[in-house]
């Protein structure tokens, strides 16, 4: 028999999340591979159709576990687009703070996740410490560590608590000072550079073929293709930030961009805290009874820049008390399914876990 079959996941330490990469291997080179999704399938899109708009707010964060806030944001924006609803100014800024924290948290987790495939667990431990501080801040703001249900249709659920600014500033200063350490432990570490430099390439034509977005796209194309810049939502057009890019997309470049984006997110949060106006944070979204309000007929697609790329909800309302159809565009759908089928072959099994890791594949948003 020429080939043997190996599996990366679902029950494998190298796979984050419950998905399985089936690999047909010759020696140590992957010859064919495909992703077996669906282990996290919960029938989300069906569930949403059966729940009230309000109920859905508690359901949607669970679509993508590592970064739940983008779901809330995307859902809220889509509904607001159909409702043609203007939400209070302060709510926009609070949303941005939450979203950027979510981005930092997801980036730290992904960057710490580099510790798994390359074996530098110290990096992972350190990254999770900082991520845990973010979760604490979330808990202070929203009352929950992971599933916040904070960004709702019509604004945010409640205003920021008293004195949170100091906490945020203290944490951001702390984190900023430690980014150097993250670089030293991770992408600037001599032993790790050997693993991530000039491997796991993502050339530009592959980006366009698959439809990869986010860091993968920016690292290959070299242009500021960021939804926050190109199609600004919330008040991203009013803050100054850079979109780090590169023209050579190996694993190291993508991780480097992650760290740079963390820095940019820190800057954005600082600006938000500075520029945030006072005022109400929430308006009542629709007409109808207290809970059973309706949204008029309409279609909308709401793209959000997640840590892995363009994430969006396609929403159809027929004027009822619950959505008629909600489609979720997972950011990792293209590279997760077609990417693994077409471009994982040729890599070595040593790199398979790193491939999945640095391409930014999040299985729950593929399965829904």
């Amino acid at each position: 028999m020429k080939e043997m079959k190996l599996f990366l996941g679902p029950q494998h330490p190298g796979m984050h999340g419950n998905a399985s990469v089936h690999m047909f291997v010759d020696g140590d080179i992957i010859k064919r591979s495909y992703l077996l999704p669906g282990m996290l399938h919960r029938g989300f899109e069906k569930q949403m159709e059966r729940k009230l708009w309000v109920n859905n707010i508690s359901l949607i964060p669970r679509v993508c576990v590592p970064e739940p806030d983008i779901n809330e944001m995307s859902f809220a924006t889509a509904a607001e687009k159909i409702l043609k609803l203007e939400i209070p100014e302060r709510a926009h800024w609070i949303r941005m703070i939450i979203l950027e924290f979510a981005r930092i948290s997801a980036h730290l987790m992904a960057y710490g996740g580099l510790g798994g495939p390359t074996g530098n667990y110290t990096l992972m431990y350190h990254a999770h410490v900082d991520r845990n501080y973010i979760l604490d801040i979330f808990e202070k703001i929203t009352g929950a560590r992971v599933y916040h249900q904070y960004i709702v249709i019509g604004g945010v659920r409640q205003d920021l608590p008293e004195g949170i600014e100091e906490d945020i500033h203290a944490f951001l200063n702390d984190l900023e000072s430690r980014l150097v350490e993250y670089r030293d432990l991770g992408i600037d570490n001599a032993s790790i550079i050997k693993r991530i430099k000039d491997t796991i390439m993502l050339p530009e034509e592959v980006v366009w073929e698959l439809g990869v977005t986010g860091i993968g796209m920016r690292s290959a194309v070299g242009k500021e293709y960021d939804v926050r810049k190109v199609v600004p939502y919330a008040r991203y057009d009013q803050v100054e930030f850079e979109v780090p890019t590169s023209n050579y997309s190996d694993a190291r470049a993508r991780l480097d961009i992650k760290i740079k984006e963390v820095q940019q997110s820190i800057n954005i949060i600082r600006q938000c805290l500075e520029k945030m106006p006072e005022g109400p944070v929430r308006v009542k979204p629709g007409r109808g009874q207290s809970m059973r309000w309706t949204v008029p007929f309409g279609y909308a697609y709401a793209p959000i820049e997640s840590s892995r790329g363009e994430f969006g909800y396609y929403m159809v309302s027929n004027g009822g008390t619950s959505p008629w159809r909600v489609g979720v565009r997972g950011a990792s759908y293209p590279q997760g399914l077609l990417g693994i089928e077409k471009y994982l072959p040729g890599t070595r099994i040593d790199d398979a876990a790193l491939w999945v890791d640095t391409m930014g594949i999040c299985s729950p948003e593929i399965d829904r």
């Binding site: 069906k46 366009w208 439809g211 242009k223 159809r325 759908y333």
Partner: protein, 197 residues
């Protein structure tokens, strides 16, 4: 990236030039929607792709049982002229067939497989569209159709069953009930600040 209104006009012209528009909708200043005939989809998408809408953001379907139609949706995006274009087309619900667009957008392969799995839409031309992807051993109508009731399916498939007689461990030493009472009292005491009611 700036002139979003101009971009939308540009798109309007382009689409109108290419194909017959059944319905048109501007969702916001960076998103437009067109409803077109099924037979024009392939052509329109090719034209849009050559004009810069290189990214297929999303492909899925919507079920409209009253009209007895499925509505297939393609969302395209152009990073240089940032306008999201929704292209929608309605197909017969009884015989849902629409040609594949993998020749234009290779990335559509798995979206189409998923649409087939969840709605039962056939995509001739896509070699694998019939294979199961997310569900495993599915034995009912495609789940995202409106006439599928997950609640009934769940009740049928995962009923609550009788446990065997000696299943649960009842520890006579473990005074569950008393403990629960005590916890209630403790909780009340906390809630009322130690005052007895």
């Amino acid at each position: 990236m700036t002139n979003s209104i101009n971009n939308i006009e540009f798109v309007n012209e382009l689409v109108a030039k290419t194909t017959k528009i059944l319905k048109q909708e501007v969702i916001d200043n960076q998103q437009v929607a067109y409803e077109i005939n099924t037979c024009d989809v392939h052509h329109l998408l090719s034209v849009l792709k050559t004009s810069g809408w290189k990214q297929l953001s999303y492909l899925s379907a919507v079920d409209w049982p009253e009209e007895n139609k499925f509505e297939v949706v393609y969302i395209l995006f152009n990073w240089e002229q940032p306008v999201y274009i929704q292209v929608r087309t309605k197909i017969d619900r009884e015989n849902p067939v629409v040609d594949t667009i993998t020749t234009v957008f290779p990335g559509a392969k798995y979206y189409e497989r998923e649409a087939h799995e969840f709605f039962g839409i056939a995509f001739p031309g896509n070699p694998d569209y019939m294979k199961q992807l997310i569900l495993e051993g599915w034995d009912d109508i495609p789940p995202l159709r409106k006439d599928f009731d997950p609640s009934a399916y769940s009740a049928k498939k995962f009923p609550s069953r009788e446990y065997p007689q000696d299943y649960s461990v009842k520890d006579p030493e473990n005074h569950t009930r008393e403990k629960r009472e005590a916890r209630k009292v403790r909780g009340n005491a906390l809630r009322t600040g130690g005052k007895k009611q």
